[in-house]
Symmetry: D2
Subunit: 248 residues, 4 copies
């Protein structure tokens, strides 16, 4: 685990974009699983500015690592729609370079990934409850590969509010996600964290026990994890952690 | 995780030696943490036969990953003594290529490892209780780096019987081991397993939950784990596991 | 460049097989380009013994790097036929894991290789004239990718005698080979050398200038080249070379 | 070989800085050999802005790959002085992370590099005569490791004019450089090219023969070479080259 603490969100986004562009300028196929949500918005702006519409990046392939379908609607799911808006469309990524995890292929997804060479990097955010990808406390077991989880109760309302403009009727009964075992199988992991509301979760991840109650706590066991966190989200880390993982 | 199932112990030892020699014939510094015990005995015979006394392997460095000192005695500990007997001495490895984890340096060991480039491979056995390295059920937390554990009660008697010729007075109060987080930081892991008495533990590791009660269950989260198991030790694995991990 | 000098041919074959099995036991797709001819015969015996008919190696893919068709005959070419006899058939390698370079696909072969992840290792022999793969003095330019070369005069007679049982009418007008630039694009190279009649060529390769007159002299510019040579073939190397590359 | 063509010098500098920061944000020791001169000036501005004075980069080590001493003066040589001014000083790199090639250590430099893990990346510019590092036409042999070359005639005057403010009395009799064989031993190479006056050399490097008369022509034989060139310097490339290496 290596930790980079930045002054603020903008700097976090810039450094994370540098890290990703380091992969994207390699001279071989590169497979990236990327995250939707608010945290990466600025990072994607940097990426779009750097590669959008330019030739020379046709060897970079993109994967989503979780998906929530819209119930009863013939359209792409929440995650891939979000990724299109944030990054894939403005960056003019070709459809042949977009690989979608869906309800239909989740059981076969890990095999597909292997055949295509595996993931070089997974870009993830951190939930204030310690979740990563679709691995939320209460549903997550560390040995899960790609799984389908039920959507019930509070989770359904949360998804309706945050992803479906409050329309509970569009919330499906299940969602799919790469589980911890599948994410950990990637060659490299990048976790970006911003804001004071993530400070508790980040301290748990870096300093706490490895427990399924804080799913992201498992990530520190990966041999190549980079965490880029702004000062606000790093505010609950001990001086020992900063010394150890920033300089390490 | 990839699994190779061999007909018997001899074949397991041979294939594991091939795998290790693949690292040892690379043209750069290679850092190997290696295991004492019964399981690797034949593997070490193969290695000694392949490289013993030959020039061309001065770039290969060896580390022990746990150590039990002899109480009140000025001599090297149990693990390194065992490694010398099994491999280091017959293979004529130079002292400059032997890096010892001891009671004195365990707090600094992870930093030393990093400076020397990190471990390329950790060769480990599996305990019938699911332990690996010195990470035994009851004492192990997954977030442990290099740690000192107390030796008490049954453990003291076990160590006296198996490592000290029954002499309880030589058993120290503590031992040191690379914890799960330090082992998982290695670039590659190799787990060798032999015998029917390991079959339950191996099934837990491959098919069960990731739990500190079965410390080795965490290893399957590593992006580059190879398990070489003989048929007897693989006898409790389901056809699905064999299909998935042998062919995977 | 790293050099391992062995006592004899048998030891060379054994160590080379260890090195290759090190790749073949990795837990991801591995692409190997392998050589026909006399030098690797014993090496292939070891490989057949280690993996022949065993499950667990379906992730290893094989490529030939040159080919001479039989003129006017509907059968596979010299190289792939030789590889089948020496290794692919006794090792029971599946057809889906055999990737053939032929007159028909040579212009597209480099693109195919890239899509399949590139070569992890090229196993090559060394000609007494300094050739490697089909890169022979007089025809070879270092910037060649996959090329078709004419077969004329002495070369035609040589091929008739060594590969066609003396039947000059079976010798085609051209052969195809991965050129130096394509071979050098592989991640790792392994050169095996045996016998006093290779001693001059090996000394040129290791100690001489990089020149198209000794095509294999270019190989020492690769960042990951391992040469395994028996004592007879290493007999013209200077003590300085042995000191530098054996210990290096 | 992979080629990225940018609109202009600024964009070239930015993309090259992204690529380098990709290495610099890895979670292990990283060894970079970096170039002096005009071409990287803007790239270094980006790097200084990204990492200057920030903690978290103490694992990145810097090497110069050539050096010209000032004759009869007790001060650091031309290259390292230039690197300090352009990058090392404004970025506040610690002395422990700066590794100097000098007249005194050049014979031992390759061994030192190996012990420290080898170079992860060499950042180079391209001379309009096809030189790279201190490997100039007329003096360069591809098999050179780290070498001392004489400074005579035109070269002395050129160095006096460009590096010594016209003071011919400060020009030494020799300079040292990593030769082609040492540069090619690095894991990855990055060549940055800008300006119409480099267009001929770049076309030779990408499309021409591998010849010691154009020393940089050898770089295309490296398995991991990235060239970032602005449109002006790429103006003499054929459509086939652009198609092949930009998309490749």
């Amino acid at each position: 685990m290596k930790l980079i603490v930045t002054d603020n969100y903008n700097e976090m986004s810039q450094i994370a974009s540098h890290h990703m562009l380091g992969y994207m300028t390699q001279n071989r196929r590169v497979n990236l699983a990327i995250t939707a949500g608010h945290t990466p918005a600025k990072l994607y702006e940097h990426l779009v500015s750097a590669i959008g519409g330019r030739s020379g990046y046709s060897h970079v392939h993109y994967y989503n690592f979780d998906e929530i379908a819209f119930k009863g609607q013939h359209r792409e799911g929440v995650t891939i729609s979000n990724l299109r808006q944030l990054f894939l469309s403005p960056a003019q990524i070709k459809e042949t370079n977009i690989h979608k995890l869906t309800n239909d292929n989740f059981l076969d997804f890990e095999r597909l990934l292997k055949e295509e060479g595996g993931l070089d990097l997974v870009l993830m955010g951190l939930g204030s409850d310690g979740h990563f990808c679709g691995n939320i406390p209460g549903l997550t077991r560390f040995h899960h590969t790609v799984v389908k989880h039920p959507i019930e109760g509070d989770l359904a309302e949360f998804i309706a509010r945050t992803e479906m403009k409050g329309d509970l009727s569009s919330v499906p009964d299940h969602y799919v996600t790469m589980g911890p075992m599948s994410v950990m199988a990637a060659k490299n992991l990048l976790l970006i964290v911003s804001g004071e509301n993530k400070a508790w979760a980040l301290a748990q991840v870096i300093e706490g026990a490895v427990t399924e109650q804080i799913p992201a706590s498992v990530l520190k066991l990966h041999p190549s994890l980079l965490i880029i966190a702004d000062r606000a989200s790093a505010s609950q880390l001990s001086p020992e952690s900063l010394e150890r993982y920033v300089q390490g």
